[in-house]
Symmetry: C2
Subunit: 186 residues, 2 copies
Protein backbone atom coordinates (compact mmCIF):
# COMPACT_ATOMS: atom_id res chain seq x y z
CA UNK A 1 0.00 0.00 0.00
CA UNK A 2 1.13 3.50 -0.80
CA UNK A 3 -0.10 6.62 1.03
CA UNK A 4 0.97 10.20 0.33
CA UNK A 5 1.44 12.48 3.35
CA UNK A 6 0.55 16.08 2.57
CA UNK A 7 2.67 18.35 4.74
CA UNK A 8 5.42 20.95 4.61
CA UNK A 9 6.90 19.64 7.88
CA UNK A 10 9.88 17.28 7.45
CA UNK A 11 9.79 16.28 11.09
CA UNK A 12 6.27 14.89 10.66
CA UNK A 13 7.34 12.86 7.64
CA UNK A 14 10.22 11.26 9.55
CA UNK A 15 7.91 10.40 12.41
CA UNK A 16 5.39 8.83 10.02
CA UNK A 17 8.02 6.88 8.06
CA UNK A 18 9.27 5.20 11.22
CA UNK A 19 5.79 4.09 12.18
CA UNK A 20 4.64 2.97 8.74
CA UNK A 21 7.70 0.75 8.23
CA UNK A 22 6.36 -1.50 10.97
CA UNK A 23 3.10 -1.80 9.07
CA UNK A 24 4.56 -2.31 5.63
CA UNK A 25 2.92 0.86 4.31
CA UNK A 26 4.95 2.85 1.80
CA UNK A 27 4.95 6.56 2.56
CA UNK A 28 5.27 9.17 -0.16
CA UNK A 29 5.32 12.87 0.43
CA UNK A 30 3.88 15.87 -1.38
CA UNK A 31 3.26 19.48 -0.51
CA UNK A 32 0.60 20.93 -2.83
CA UNK A 33 -0.92 22.93 0.04
CA UNK A 34 -4.61 22.96 0.90
CA UNK A 35 -7.10 25.40 2.42
CA UNK A 36 -7.13 25.15 6.23
CA UNK A 37 -10.61 25.74 7.62
CA UNK A 38 -11.62 27.40 10.84
CA UNK A 39 -13.26 24.73 12.96
CA UNK A 40 -12.32 21.63 14.93
CA UNK A 41 -9.18 19.60 14.15
CA UNK A 42 -11.50 16.99 12.66
CA UNK A 43 -13.15 19.51 10.33
CA UNK A 44 -9.78 20.89 9.24
CA UNK A 45 -8.39 17.42 8.47
CA UNK A 46 -11.53 16.20 6.72
CA UNK A 47 -11.79 19.27 4.49
CA UNK A 48 -8.05 19.23 3.71
CA UNK A 49 -7.95 15.53 2.79
CA UNK A 50 -11.03 15.88 0.60
CA UNK A 51 -9.54 18.86 -1.19
CA UNK A 52 -6.20 17.18 -1.90
CA UNK A 53 -7.55 13.83 -3.06
CA UNK A 54 -9.50 15.62 -5.79
CA UNK A 55 -6.29 17.21 -6.99
CA UNK A 56 -3.96 14.20 -6.79
CA UNK A 57 -6.45 11.36 -7.32
CA UNK A 58 -4.64 8.95 -5.02
CA UNK A 59 -4.83 8.04 -1.30
CA UNK A 60 -3.58 10.88 0.93
CA UNK A 61 -3.32 11.82 4.60
CA UNK A 62 -3.16 15.27 6.19
CA UNK A 63 -2.54 16.01 9.86
CA UNK A 64 -3.65 18.79 12.19
CA UNK A 65 -2.68 19.14 15.83
CA UNK A 66 -3.01 21.46 18.80
CA UNK A 67 -2.77 22.04 22.55
CA UNK A 68 -6.09 21.97 24.42
CA UNK A 69 -6.24 23.52 27.93
CA UNK A 70 -9.29 22.58 29.98
CA UNK A 71 -9.44 25.66 32.24
CA UNK A 72 -9.40 27.88 29.12
CA UNK A 73 -12.36 26.10 27.48
CA UNK A 74 -9.82 24.12 25.45
CA UNK A 75 -8.11 27.22 24.05
CA UNK A 76 -5.86 27.48 21.97
CA UNK A 77 -6.98 24.23 20.25
CA UNK A 78 -7.09 24.34 16.48
CA UNK A 79 -5.49 27.80 16.50
CA UNK A 80 -2.39 26.74 18.45
CA UNK A 81 0.12 27.86 15.87
CA UNK A 82 -1.53 31.28 15.47
CA UNK A 83 -1.61 31.70 19.25
CA UNK A 84 2.03 30.62 19.47
CA UNK A 85 2.95 33.26 16.86
CA UNK A 86 1.07 36.06 18.63
CA UNK A 87 0.82 35.81 22.44
CA UNK A 88 3.25 32.85 22.63
CA UNK A 89 4.24 30.87 25.73
CA UNK A 90 4.28 34.04 27.83
CA UNK A 91 0.65 34.66 26.95
CA UNK A 92 -0.41 31.13 27.91
CA UNK A 93 1.44 31.37 31.24
CA UNK A 94 -0.23 34.72 31.94
CA UNK A 95 -3.67 33.28 31.18
CA UNK A 96 -2.88 30.38 33.54
CA UNK A 97 -1.69 32.56 36.45
CA UNK A 98 -3.55 31.58 39.64
CA UNK A 99 -5.47 28.87 37.77
CA UNK A 100 -5.66 25.66 39.80
CA UNK A 101 -6.91 23.25 37.14
CA UNK A 102 -3.85 22.86 34.90
CA UNK A 103 -5.05 19.85 32.88
CA UNK A 104 -4.23 19.98 29.17
CA UNK A 105 -3.82 17.62 26.26
CA UNK A 106 -2.06 17.59 22.93
CA UNK A 107 -4.26 16.20 20.17
CA UNK A 108 -3.39 15.08 16.66
CA UNK A 109 -5.92 14.24 13.97
CA UNK A 110 -5.14 12.35 10.77
CA UNK A 111 -7.52 12.84 7.86
CA UNK A 112 -7.33 10.06 5.27
CA UNK A 113 -9.00 10.25 1.89
CA UNK A 114 -8.94 7.94 -1.12
CA UNK A 115 -10.53 8.66 -4.52
CA UNK A 116 -14.32 8.18 -4.52
CA UNK A 117 -14.71 7.54 -0.82
CA UNK A 118 -15.54 9.66 2.22
CA UNK A 119 -12.59 10.86 4.37
CA UNK A 120 -11.79 8.97 7.59
CA UNK A 121 -10.54 10.60 10.80
CA UNK A 122 -8.10 9.24 13.44
CA UNK A 123 -7.49 10.99 16.76
CA UNK A 124 -4.46 10.65 19.07
CA UNK A 125 -4.21 12.38 22.49
CA UNK A 126 -1.57 12.89 25.19
CA UNK A 127 -2.94 13.98 28.59
CA UNK A 128 -0.81 16.16 30.85
CA UNK A 129 -0.62 19.52 32.55
CA UNK A 130 0.65 23.05 32.06
CA UNK A 131 3.78 24.12 33.94
CA UNK A 132 4.08 27.40 35.84
CA UNK A 133 7.19 28.43 33.91
CA UNK A 134 8.99 27.45 30.69
CA UNK A 135 11.20 24.38 31.09
CA UNK A 136 13.67 23.02 28.53
CA UNK A 137 14.55 24.04 25.02
CA UNK A 138 14.58 20.77 23.08
CA UNK A 139 11.12 21.03 21.61
CA UNK A 140 9.27 23.81 19.88
CA UNK A 141 6.09 25.84 20.33
CA UNK A 142 4.27 24.90 23.56
CA UNK A 143 6.56 21.92 24.35
CA UNK A 144 8.34 23.70 27.21
CA UNK A 145 5.01 24.30 28.99
CA UNK A 146 3.66 20.75 28.83
CA UNK A 147 4.28 17.88 31.26
CA UNK A 148 2.89 14.65 29.79
CA UNK A 149 1.13 12.52 32.42
CA UNK A 150 3.52 10.56 34.67
CA UNK A 151 6.56 12.49 33.46
CA UNK A 152 8.62 14.84 35.62
CA UNK A 153 10.01 16.49 32.48
CA UNK A 154 8.24 18.74 30.00
CA UNK A 155 8.24 17.96 26.27
CA UNK A 156 10.85 20.71 26.06
CA UNK A 157 13.16 18.76 28.39
CA UNK A 158 12.70 15.36 26.73
CA UNK A 159 14.81 14.21 23.79
CA UNK A 160 12.98 13.41 20.57
CA UNK A 161 12.98 9.65 21.13
CA UNK A 162 11.62 9.98 24.64
CA UNK A 163 9.06 12.52 23.51
CA UNK A 164 7.89 10.22 20.74
CA UNK A 165 6.95 7.57 23.25
CA UNK A 166 4.19 9.92 24.39
CA UNK A 167 3.49 11.47 21.02
CA UNK A 168 -0.11 12.27 20.11
CA UNK A 169 0.93 12.13 16.46
CA UNK A 170 2.38 8.66 16.93
CA UNK A 171 -0.97 7.55 18.33
CA UNK A 172 -3.07 8.98 15.49
CA UNK A 173 -0.66 7.60 12.87
CA UNK A 174 -0.72 4.12 14.44
CA UNK A 175 -4.50 4.14 14.62
CA UNK A 176 -4.66 5.03 10.96
CA UNK A 177 -2.10 2.39 9.98
CA UNK A 178 -3.92 -0.33 11.93
CA UNK A 179 -7.18 0.58 10.26
CA UNK A 180 -5.65 0.66 6.77
CA UNK A 181 -4.08 -2.76 7.22
CA UNK A 182 -7.31 -4.29 8.45
CA UNK A 183 -9.31 -2.70 5.60
CA UNK A 184 -6.91 -4.14 3.05
CA UNK A 185 -7.00 -7.64 4.48
CA UNK A 186 -10.79 -7.83 4.22
CA UNK B 1 -27.96 46.87 -9.05
CA UNK B 2 -28.69 43.91 -6.87
CA UNK B 3 -26.18 42.37 -4.44
CA UNK B 4 -26.78 39.36 -2.17
CA UNK B 5 -25.26 39.51 1.33
CA UNK B 6 -24.25 36.07 2.58
CA UNK B 7 -24.56 36.03 6.35
CA UNK B 8 -26.49 34.46 9.20
CA UNK B 9 -26.38 37.73 11.18
CA UNK B 10 -29.54 39.85 10.96
CA UNK B 11 -27.84 42.80 12.57
CA UNK B 12 -25.31 42.96 9.74
CA UNK B 13 -28.08 42.89 7.14
CA UNK B 14 -29.88 45.82 8.77
CA UNK B 15 -26.66 47.79 8.91
CA UNK B 16 -25.98 47.11 5.23
CA UNK B 17 -29.53 47.92 4.12
CA UNK B 18 -29.35 51.36 5.70
CA UNK B 19 -26.11 52.16 3.91
CA UNK B 20 -27.03 50.74 0.52
CA UNK B 21 -30.29 52.71 0.38
CA UNK B 22 -28.22 55.87 0.05
CA UNK B 23 -26.43 54.35 -2.92
CA UNK B 24 -29.48 52.94 -4.67
CA UNK B 25 -28.16 49.37 -4.37
CA UNK B 26 -30.77 46.70 -3.74
CA UNK B 27 -29.72 44.28 -1.04
CA UNK B 28 -30.85 40.66 -0.98
CA UNK B 29 -29.94 38.17 1.65
CA UNK B 30 -29.07 34.48 1.63
CA UNK B 31 -27.44 32.10 4.06
CA UNK B 32 -26.07 29.09 2.18
CA UNK B 33 -22.99 28.99 4.46
CA UNK B 34 -19.42 28.79 3.21
CA UNK B 35 -16.11 27.37 4.42
CA UNK B 36 -14.25 29.86 6.63
CA UNK B 37 -10.50 29.61 6.15
CA UNK B 38 -7.75 30.09 8.66
CA UNK B 39 -5.78 33.14 7.53
CA UNK B 40 -6.17 36.91 7.33
CA UNK B 41 -9.60 38.56 7.17
CA UNK B 42 -8.85 39.25 3.50
CA UNK B 43 -8.13 35.58 2.76
CA UNK B 44 -11.28 34.49 4.59
CA UNK B 45 -13.47 36.97 2.70
CA UNK B 46 -11.90 36.26 -0.70
CA UNK B 47 -12.24 32.49 -0.35
CA UNK B 48 -15.80 32.76 0.98
CA UNK B 49 -17.00 35.08 -1.78
CA UNK B 50 -15.41 32.90 -4.47
CA UNK B 51 -17.02 29.80 -3.03
CA UNK B 52 -20.52 31.28 -2.85
CA UNK B 53 -20.54 32.93 -6.27
CA UNK B 54 -19.92 29.52 -7.86
CA UNK B 55 -22.95 28.16 -6.05
CA UNK B 56 -25.38 31.05 -6.60
CA UNK B 57 -24.03 32.45 -9.89
CA UNK B 58 -24.88 36.07 -9.03
CA UNK B 59 -23.04 38.98 -7.35
CA UNK B 60 -22.49 38.37 -3.62
CA UNK B 61 -20.74 39.88 -0.61
CA UNK B 62 -19.44 38.22 2.53
CA UNK B 63 -18.03 39.98 5.59
CA UNK B 64 -15.42 39.03 8.18
CA UNK B 65 -14.37 41.15 11.15
CA UNK B 66 -12.19 41.09 14.24
CA UNK B 67 -10.45 42.95 17.05
CA UNK B 68 -6.71 43.53 16.53
CA UNK B 69 -4.56 44.42 19.58
CA UNK B 70 -1.11 45.83 18.77
CA UNK B 71 0.69 44.77 21.98
CA UNK B 72 -0.49 41.17 21.40
CA UNK B 73 0.90 41.01 17.84
CA UNK B 74 -2.62 41.79 16.62
CA UNK B 75 -4.21 38.86 18.49
CA UNK B 76 -7.09 37.83 18.46
CA UNK B 77 -7.61 39.09 14.87
CA UNK B 78 -9.36 36.68 12.53
CA UNK B 79 -10.04 34.33 15.44
CA UNK B 80 -11.92 36.90 17.54
CA UNK B 81 -15.11 34.93 17.84
CA UNK B 82 -13.27 31.74 18.86
CA UNK B 83 -11.26 33.70 21.43
CA UNK B 84 -14.44 35.35 22.71
CA UNK B 85 -16.03 31.90 23.14
CA UNK B 86 -13.04 30.44 25.02
CA UNK B 87 -10.99 32.90 27.11
CA UNK B 88 -13.50 35.77 26.65
CA UNK B 89 -13.17 39.35 27.85
CA UNK B 90 -11.60 38.19 31.12
CA UNK B 91 -8.82 36.49 29.14
CA UNK B 92 -8.11 39.60 27.09
CA UNK B 93 -7.98 41.78 30.21
CA UNK B 94 -5.59 39.31 31.86
CA UNK B 95 -3.30 39.32 28.81
CA UNK B 96 -3.35 43.14 28.90
CA UNK B 97 -2.52 43.45 32.63
CA UNK B 98 0.45 45.79 33.10
CA UNK B 99 0.64 46.39 29.34
CA UNK B 100 1.22 50.06 28.56
CA UNK B 101 0.51 50.07 24.80
CA UNK B 102 -3.26 49.61 24.71
CA UNK B 103 -3.79 50.48 21.02
CA UNK B 104 -6.30 48.27 19.19
CA UNK B 105 -8.52 48.43 16.15
CA UNK B 106 -11.67 46.77 14.94
CA UNK B 107 -11.42 45.75 11.29
CA UNK B 108 -14.10 44.67 8.84
CA UNK B 109 -13.43 43.22 5.40
CA UNK B 110 -16.04 42.88 2.67
CA UNK B 111 -15.37 40.30 -0.05
CA UNK B 112 -17.31 40.93 -3.25
CA UNK B 113 -17.52 38.43 -6.07
CA UNK B 114 -19.48 38.42 -9.32
CA UNK B 115 -19.66 35.51 -11.78
CA UNK B 116 -16.54 35.15 -13.93
CA UNK B 117 -14.48 37.83 -12.20
CA UNK B 118 -11.90 37.84 -9.42
CA UNK B 119 -13.12 38.78 -5.91
CA UNK B 120 -12.56 42.34 -4.66
CA UNK B 121 -11.75 43.25 -1.06
CA UNK B 122 -12.75 46.34 0.97
CA UNK B 123 -11.31 47.13 4.42
CA UNK B 124 -12.82 49.35 7.14
CA UNK B 125 -11.02 50.13 10.44
CA UNK B 126 -11.83 51.87 13.73
CA UNK B 127 -8.79 52.80 15.83
CA UNK B 128 -9.09 52.89 19.61
CA UNK B 129 -7.77 51.36 22.80
CA UNK B 130 -8.45 48.56 25.27
CA UNK B 131 -9.98 49.46 28.63
CA UNK B 132 -8.68 48.13 31.96
CA UNK B 133 -12.09 46.75 32.90
CA UNK B 134 -15.39 45.88 31.20
CA UNK B 135 -17.65 48.90 30.67
CA UNK B 136 -21.26 48.87 29.48
CA UNK B 137 -23.56 46.10 28.35
CA UNK B 138 -25.16 47.47 25.18
CA UNK B 139 -22.89 45.74 22.71
CA UNK B 140 -21.66 42.20 22.40
CA UNK B 141 -18.35 40.29 22.37
CA UNK B 142 -15.38 42.66 22.89
CA UNK B 143 -17.49 45.85 22.71
CA UNK B 144 -17.26 46.54 26.43
CA UNK B 145 -13.43 46.55 26.27
CA UNK B 146 -13.01 48.95 23.34
CA UNK B 147 -12.86 52.75 23.43
CA UNK B 148 -13.01 54.09 19.87
CA UNK B 149 -10.61 57.01 19.35
CA UNK B 150 -11.88 60.34 20.74
CA UNK B 151 -14.71 58.67 22.67
CA UNK B 152 -14.97 58.54 26.46
CA UNK B 153 -17.38 55.62 26.16
CA UNK B 154 -16.71 52.03 25.12
CA UNK B 155 -18.68 50.39 22.32
CA UNK B 156 -20.52 48.63 25.13
CA UNK B 157 -21.68 51.97 26.55
CA UNK B 158 -22.73 53.52 23.23
CA UNK B 159 -26.19 53.01 21.76
CA UNK B 160 -26.38 51.34 18.37
CA UNK B 161 -26.81 54.60 16.44
CA UNK B 162 -23.84 56.22 18.14
CA UNK B 163 -21.75 53.09 17.71
CA UNK B 164 -22.56 52.95 14.01
CA UNK B 165 -21.01 56.38 13.51
CA UNK B 166 -17.68 54.73 14.29
CA UNK B 167 -18.45 51.36 12.78
CA UNK B 168 -15.69 49.50 10.92
CA UNK B 169 -18.42 47.60 9.07
CA UNK B 170 -20.04 50.86 7.99
CA UNK B 171 -16.70 51.92 6.51
CA UNK B 172 -16.07 48.72 4.57
CA UNK B 173 -19.67 48.66 3.29
CA UNK B 174 -19.45 52.29 2.15
CA UNK B 175 -16.16 51.67 0.39
CA UNK B 176 -17.67 48.74 -1.43
CA UNK B 177 -20.82 50.68 -2.38
CA UNK B 178 -18.79 53.63 -3.70
CA UNK B 179 -16.68 51.30 -5.80
CA UNK B 180 -19.69 49.43 -7.18
CA UNK B 181 -21.43 52.65 -8.20
CA UNK B 182 -18.35 53.98 -9.95
CA UNK B 183 -17.76 50.65 -11.74
CA UNK B 184 -21.32 50.68 -13.03
CA UNK B 185 -21.18 54.24 -14.31
CA UNK B 186 -18.09 53.50 -16.45
Amino acid sequence: MIVTFITSNKHKIKEAEKIFQKFDIELKHANPGYPELQGTLEEVARFGAKHVVKKLNKPVIVEDAGLFIRALNWFPGTYSSYVQDTIGNAGILKLMENVTDRYAEFRSVIGYSAPNSEPKIFLGKVPGHISTEEKGNQGFAFDSLFYPKDSDKTFGELGLNEKNKFSHRQKSLEQFANWLISENSK
